[in-house]
């Protein structure tokens, strides 16, 4: 199937020579949720802005639903909804009017039923006649989403939708995203909250210093790069790792009772069986064992701290 978004060799260099994007290639399939993860200043917003037409690319090409964003910008942009990172709203406008304006701007005939459906979906219906300045921060974010959805986009960009919002609202936001996915909307969201990517994305892309370091299915990414740790808890305190176990890369935890063993789940042999046998032969008594899967956060921190040259 044709990808809904296809980015080829996208570069963006500013007049002062700063390269915000250094040749990004990305394909996004219809209906998936992809999270672009990266530290501040990595190029996430620049990437989105370029696809949406707010920033002009230096080179490279982008198509949305097969339509080039420059030569066929009307068709391409009609398919896109954008929820910006900043709360960009006119303070004196009323909720319903501003959403209706967005729909008109995208060339869709006014349809009160559609506006009502969207406002209800985002729990904004009761606030429809309020001025934007009367709303809470969370409500304002919902208004931005309502505006982006007003013209029934097929591809929705959420630029850090949960930056600075409370936990409850973040959960709400995730539910909204799930709902949109069920409606067949493709979603690209940027975030620097790893838990967010972990919770809702199908695929994860990691951006740092203007380069897309990798894009992978979330599960596969975690499995491929995931390290597991085995904590062996002992009944007695140790001063140091026993000589008999020096062949293993063990770390004695601060409490003195836990030996931490890191292993790779991809390996044919994890070495756990032998380790446990040697622990018992060394005369140590086990109290408990526990394993821990490394989170996306560990993977992410590992990736962005590598030099971009190494990763590419």
């Amino acid at each position: 199937m044709q990808p809904i978004l296809q980015i080829k060799g996208l570069r963006k260099a500013y007049a002062d020579g700063f390269e915000a994007l250094k040749g990004v290639d990305l394909e996004i399939a219809q209906g998936e949720i992809i999270a672009l993860l990266g530290p501040n200043g990595a190029g996430k917003t620049t990437l989105i802005s370029t696809v949406c037409g707010i920033t002009m690319a230096t080179s490279g090409s982008v198509t949305v639903g097969g339509h080039d964003i420059i030569s066929d910008f009307r068709a391409a942009r009609s398919m896109i909804g954008l929820v910006p990172q900043e709360i960009n709203l006119e303070p004196f406008e009323r909720v319903k009017n501003t959403v209706k304006f967005s729909r008109g701007l995208f060339g869709k005939p006014q349809d009160d039923a559609v506006i009502e459906r969207i406002l209800r979906q985002l729990s904004l219906w009761d606030k429809r006649d309020n001025q934007i300045r009367e709303l809470s921060g969370g409500m304002k974010r919902r208004v931005l989403i309502a505006k982006a959805l007003s013209h029934d986009p097929r591809l929705l960009f959420l630029d850090e939708p949960t930056a600075g919002v409370d936990v409850e609202l973040r959960r709400d936001m995730w539910e909204i995203v799930e709902g949109l996915k069920a409606d067949g909307v493709t979603i690209v969201l940027t975030t620097h909250y790893i838990e967010e990517a972990e919770a809702i994305a199908d695929r994860i892309g990691v951006i740092a210093k203007g380069e897309l370091l990798l894009v992978e299915e979330k599960e596969r990414l975690m499995a491929r790069m995931g390290q597991k740790q085995l904590d062996v808890q002992l009944t007695e305190r140790l001063e140091a790792v026993p000589q008999a176990l020096s062949g293993y890369d063990l770390v004695l935890c601060e409490d003195g009772c836990t030996l931490r063993y890191s292993y790779d789940t991809r390996g044919e042999r994890t070495g756990i069986t032998k380790l446990l046998r040697d622990v018992s032969e060394a005369g140590l008594v086990l109290r408990d064992v526990a394993t821990r899967q490394s989170s996306l956060e560990d993977i992410f921190v590992g990736l962005v701290h590598e030099e971009p040259g190494d990763a590419a």
């Binding site: 802005s49 707010i54 009307r74 954008l82 304006f101 008109g104 701007l105 060339g107």
Partner: protein, 253 residues
Amino acid sequence: MNFTAIKAIYLFEMARFFRTLAQSFISPVLSTSLYFVVFGAAIGSRIDQIEGVSYGAFIVPGLIMLSVITQGISNASFGIYFPKFVGTIYELLSAPVNFLEIVAGYVGAAATKALFIGVIILITAFFFVDISIAHPFAMVGFLLLTALSFALLGFIIGIWATNFEQLQLVPLLVVTPLVFLGGAFYSISMLPPVWQKISYFNPVVYLISGFRWSFFGTADVPIAVSLLAIAGFTALCMAVVWWIFKTGWRLRQ
């Protein structure tokens, strides 16, 4: 053409105008009334007729032009500057609209507001002085063209401005002097020859002269020259706006 988008922008901008209708209305009516009291009644009573017209009536076209020009500029410059200021410009830039549609929406709304004010001033004038309109269609045409061309200029100023001070700067430093020296309150022929020559470099002279012709049938410059001047000015503004959207100057990075 995305007419739905033009309509959306136009109505959105007009809604802003109607929200502050009383303010939009009272200030021009008040200032025009003051002009009539001071220049028409107090000083005007000591001035002879100019080109066969009483001084109070003579200044009416200039006063209308003064308001239409300043209103056209301020409405259009604010209309496009405000979205830049609050950040909602992102929506305009990412919408499936081309520059002509954006300009049509914003400039159309600004020109409508300016026209509205112009008509209000004309009506106010009827309460103070005796005036008749010799060429009503030409008058409406001049009013329309002036409102449109200066709204275009305002649109350019709004995109150029990076803060509210700059937004006020051009109208204050450039436009007001040009309008005052453009023969709003006098006939160019009343000036010494040197200043008459200098005045012909002022584009507003042609506007006010043409507009005055539509009222009284007399003009400082031939009517065709006036029309050419305003057409040239409009074309120049359109070319600048086209360039802005082509290069993304102060809009797209």
